[in-house]
Symmetry: D2
């Protein structure tokens, strides 16, 4: 029943700020890493190099419940849904094995653009 | 009538990614820089060092319309509102002088925590 | 004979800049990730939390031969040497399986400091 | 007599790590910001867009004496020297008004490449 993509991320010094936990903007990076693995890194590079297609974040929203810390190995759980021929929504949550609820919850809406930044239909990998 | 705080940010190589525009997560950094200047950097450091109070982002949402580029000098326009004794909302938009509409629109909800990460009322600077 | 520590790193959008390859400062991050795994992440966190000991970079030098790209999976090869009771040197090179020579070569000198940022002898993990 | 280029940088949350001071790799970013202002941002963008010329760091070395903190406004002092038709060296130090010596000392060697990453002579801005 747990029909999500899982991607694990180690938290290093670079990820934290002086408050001792992960700097809030960095969770968007972990979300993107997870999406790249989910969609297929080789295919993403091929689409970009050969067809000039790139994926861009159109909207995102995040709720921060608890901060990840140095030494943590967090898990990004992602569920993707195609909303229309042009837009996909990724529900992405940050989990820590020792915690009963997600640390961070995110919703990311993606679209696809060509070389001239024109909106195009999402390719088949979605 | 333009009752907002203005903070200007230069876009450097470090801010961009291979798509040629600013990496999406970085706008959260610019929002934070603007909030720090708006609230007063010296006072924020004093609150942290002397009273152990820190501000944390609880929620945020962003809409990306257009990407800023290397060499751009963007403007972060911020309007803040205290929603309750415990929470403030910052409406923060990214503008470029040559553009008729904001490049990026954001809403950031902040709360204040003490040393033990317990929620406390917002201090007077709000 | 290949007596080095190996740590692999995926290159994502966040790592690149508009030139299309990894932003130069990021290699210092990959070097640090590799050192954390080499020394042991759990022990580093324990030293920090229980003994107040942290490791800091005192000097580093890098030579950039070729840039890693989106989709690459690079390897950080690290050889460590204790120069004195107070200082260790890490020779860290970035390799790509398809390349005959390292993309980036680095030398990083580390020291250990206590809570008051006073220099202390390196702990036993070295 | 103070024949250097000066560029001031505010230190924000994003710049620090859990040790409470600036994450070491970030000084390379401040060095680059200073070089972009010194060489002229508009001209750098023009060279890139119209002539396909980009500047890349070939070598760098840094010595870290003391860490900058949240709320600091540091100064990057840069002296540039053309070593050959193909290479320029930037001596870049981080100063804080309240400190008698630089916090960080750096040497950065730059070269210029064309669209195919071929080495070309440095343009006239040097």
């Amino acid at each position: 029943m747990s029909d999500y993509h899982s991607h694990r991320v180690h938290i290093y010094y670079e990820d934290t700020d002086l408050s001792g936990v992960v700097y809030h903007a960095n969770y968007l990076k972990y979300f993107e890493r997870a999406r790249e693995h989910m969609l297929g890194r080789a295919e993403l590079v091929r689409l970009l190099d050969e067809e000039g297609l790139g994926f861009v974040v159109y909207k995102c929203s995040l709720t921060f419940k608890k901060g990840a810390k140095l030494g943590d190995e967090i898990e990004v759980r992602t569920v993707a849904k195609k909303d229309s021929p042009y837009r996909a929504t990724f529900e992405q949550n940050i989990w820590l094995d020792s915690e009963p609820a997600p640390l961070v919850q995110g919703i990311v809406e993606m679209v696809c653009v060509d070389k001239d930044q024109k909106l195009v239909p999402l390719p088949d990998i979605f």
